[in-house]
């Protein structure tokens, strides 16, 4: 495992750990998801660049389009949460009725 591979792998694992362990805000979880998608984009790009497989350069672009879908759906959920509960703290979502 070269340092480049170690870097984006550890970036992905860090984003995953941040998503799994820290859930104060909904926006923090969305940002951790974005960090994971960023490391996946870099990983796919480096795969096609290091192996000189230029035909696969379209794969990171498609991944970026799908990550845009994920981000927009998450932000819509954030806006809906802020409108129903008044805040985006995830502890408020455990309350039964407020």
């Amino acid at each position: 495992m070269t340092p480049v591979h170690f870097s984006f792998s550890s970036a992905f694992i860090l984003g995953l750990m941040g998503l799994a362990f820290h859930r104060t805000h909904l926006l923090s979880a969305l940002l951790c998801l974005e960090g994971m998608m960023l490391s996946l984009f870099i990983a796919l790009s480096l795969w096609s660049l290091q192996l000189e497989a230029t035909g696969y350069s379209a794969a990171p672009m498609l991944l970026l389009a799908f990550s845009a879908c994920e981000a927009s759906a998450g932000l819509a959920l954030l806006v809906a949460t802020a409108r129903t509960h008044g805040t985006d703290r995830l502890q408020n979502l455990n309350l039964l009725q407020c």
Partner: protein, 173 residues
């Protein structure tokens, strides 16, 4: 170039630590901007000029503006930065963990493993990824149509989620 790419890789890990250590969303968005900019540097170092351009313009220009808006929506009077007591421990734990795992691989990293793999180094009008992305319009046309359809579908999902009247997915407002 090798030193520069090494610095960018270090910055990528530090940026993700800054996102993952659960500060206030202002600072987490800042860490994500740093990580995306540094990732552009990594891709430039490996010769992917079009992919890094797309990452810089589309990712930073499109997505992070929306995140700044949403961070303003979830505003707090006293946001926690990285030096707060509840955050600094996570930063330290993540950094120590990354360094410990890097220490496991440290024996296998010779000087040649730090050298950037870029076989097409030199001055070219057309780099590999430019023509590779252009293949999306010929052989990858099916996936392009699927992507456009998914984006259109996401638009309607977002509109239904944020409608908020008695109709739609969210009827509580």
């Amino acid at each position: 170039m090798t030193y520069l790419v090494s610095l960018f890789l270090f910055g990528l890990v530090v940026g993700l630590v800054a996102v993952a250590s659960n500060p206030a969303p202002y600072f987490a968005a800042l860490g994500l901007v740093v990580a995306a900019g540094v990732g552009c540097g990594v891709l430039i170092g490996h010769g992917g000029l079009f992919l890094s351009l797309v990452l810089f313009l589309i990712y930073l220009g499109g997505m992070l503006v929306v995140f700044a808006y949403s961070a303003a929506l979830a505003a707090e009077p006293f946001p926690e930065s990285w030096v707060d007591r509840s955050v600094i421990w996570y930063v330290l734990v993540y950094l120590i963990g990354v360094v410990a795992v890097a220490g496991l691989f440290w024996g296998g990293w010779y000087e040649s493993s730090w050298v950037v793999v870029d076989g097409l180094k030199g001055f070219f009008v057309l780099r590999g990824d430019v023509s590779g992305v252009a293949l999306m319009y010929s052989f990858g046309g099916g996936m392009l149509v699927v992507c456009a359809w998914v984006l259109l579908l996401t638009l309607f999902v977002v509109l239904e989620l944020t409608r908020g009247l008695s109709r739609g997915a969210l009827r509580a407002v």
